[in-house]
Symmetry: none
Subunit: 196 residues, 4 copies
DNA sequence: GAATAAGCGAGACGGTACGTCCCGTCTTAGC
DNA sequence: GCTAAGACGGGACGTACCGTCTCGCTTATTC
């Protein structure tokens, strides 16, 4: 009755997919693109190497899918999915994310690997970053009645997000990049968004 | 006065140092931290592996020093070393740097490798980035007579530099991050630096 | 009856064994014990180094087995395996062997390496030399009805074989050690085996 | 006044020659041609590597000369230099030499190295072996009044010397190759030298 | 119920890099 | 000009992983 015909032979173990993607993401975060070898991924997932290769043609494919898969598991995403989310809670969420070492590790690894493998970072940007930017842009346009061009608003977003990421990725390791710093950024942004 | 006694035996070949650091930096840019193996560095430099190991105890030491060394070779640095450099030329220099794929590759790799090896990025920050920031900060303070706190000025610098780097490292690959984009950033910065 | 369970995983490639032992023997003959490095053996056999190390724990083990293996491939051995081989054909075989540069090289290398590594020569002696000596001894005893002690017969064999090898290994390089020389040796041996 | 003009600069240390040749010979005996590296020879002689290379152009040159040099130091040689040495004492000498592990090691290494480097063994043969053979041949001819050809006598010498060396170099390691064995060989030789 | 087919763990395969050691050559300072 | 010291390019060492491959076994579908 169901549309999808079952294939012949032994079916794939669905738990393996889960375990492999989990292990892949963990290793990528911990040791980067090179450190996340199929060998290690298979070992950590408790799976034979062929089992990985049968499902994904390359490490990059696997990681891309693992990133997409992981996104669906993050409950916080729901907040960003709301049409008009609460600004305070978004700030909290943003502070929380930026302070998370795991997040920093993922993003740093993605940027590093983008030199030889741009697809991963592109996936991440489209999956995580762009939706959030679009949400913020829409909120700003609502607040401003659209009297500024998108370009200017986008530049302001770039400045806020860019400063935060710059601080997190490159800036000195002082733990200053917390709520106070973000609040300062937003205060400056308000001036840019106010009347000239 | 000198007092430093020359050591016995054949002195180390200074050309080898040069060749090794050059090869190391090239490979790091091309293939990242893992791809820059001592084996390949030595081969490209036309040097025996021991010759590398004699001078540097680890790949990270080598790369750190290679980055420091490379900085001294960049003539453009002179511009930034001037007490009161010309703003237009600085902007040109900045545009040129941000548009350079090599620069992007180095910085991206450094950020990626900072997860497991923070020293490299720290060296780069202290050698390249901080001096430029200090110069800009001083210029801004001169212009503003110091009526703003350092924190605010630093935040503005973060926003400009951060936005530029964000665009270069993460942002969509459109080649928009050129002179026009930077000019837009600076225009916004002027507003932040003007009277509230 | 067999009981030997096949082990799991991919079985070892029997052609690799063959190629490795062949390459090892060739290199040993050409360049001696030291020249026959695992690195070169693997390269010549078209095989990865691990593949060698998986099978043999040391170079000496490998060469010992290679010598044993090579013996089984020499068809001439069949002649010596016959119960009552034809004396003329044995002489031909002996002349042929002594004139073979390869044979001289193997034996010379084995003797040289026996100083630091006696096992190789011992294997060779037991595999090649002793069987032939036993065969000759048996033939002599048949001919003489056993009225001499083994010691005397063995001494005569020593004298014939020893003279031939001495000529081949140490003696001046004149190509005299051919059929005439061996025939002369055997004529002298007949006198020793005849009535006193 | 004297004919030989002293050259300029510091004269070579004559003790160095001695020490180097001694060390070279020792290492050759202990570890063979490959093991007797200039590095090790210099270290054991307590001398810099250049000091060795300045005097000899190659390892083989050095060893050849070391062998020649060593011969002059062996007092036993005087016995063989006598016109009509005492047969009993010669036998003693022979037994002593064949039983000496050092002698075996030298000869075995020389034979092994002759595959790639025949000069060493040739020197040894001409310096040590041939003179002794000539002496024995002369003695036999004196005793026999020359009624046999040289060839036959040489063959008998080959058989005795060959058997002894075969036993020492290849034969089973039983310590049988002592005085009794040699005496047996000589007894057999007497039969060959007697009337047909 | 037997045949077929695909998934699975295990492990061998060729290849590359590791960091160390030693080789013979070279290039310096010091006597 | 000799000496000791030590750097040089080259190459082998034995180990560890890499991604690919090839086994025997297991599990499911199909005939």
């Amino acid at each position: 009755m169901s549309g999808t015909r079952r294939t012949r032979g032994r079916p794939r173990d669905p738990e393996a997919d889960e375990a492999i993607m989990k292990a892949a993401l963990e290793l990528f975060v911990e040791r980067g693109l090179e450190g996340a070898s199929i060998e290690q991924i298979a070992k950590r997932a408790g799976v034979a190497k062929v089992t990985v290769y049968r499902r994904w043609s390359s490490k990059e494919d696997l990681l891309t899918q693992a990133i997409e898969h992981a996104r669906a598991l993050v409950p916080e995403d729901d907040l960003w999915a709301e049409a008009r989310p609460d600004a305070g809670r978004l700030l909290d969420s943003w502070v929380h994310t930026l302070g998370d070492a795991r997040f920093r590790a993922v993003l740093a690894q993605l940027i590093g690997s983008s030199v030889t493998q741009p697809a991963l970072l592109a996936t991440y940007r489209e999956q995580f970053i762009e939706p959030r930017r679009r949400l913020i842009l829409a909120a700003l346009k609502r607040a401003r009645d659209g009297d500024d061009g998108d370009d200017d608003l986008n530049t302001v977003i770039d400045m806020v997000v860019g400063a935060a990421m710059y601080r997190m990725l490159i800036g000195p390791d002082d733990p200053e990049a917390g709520r106070d710093y973000l609040t300062g950024l937003l205060r400056q942004a308000e001036r840019l968004l106010g009347p000239p």
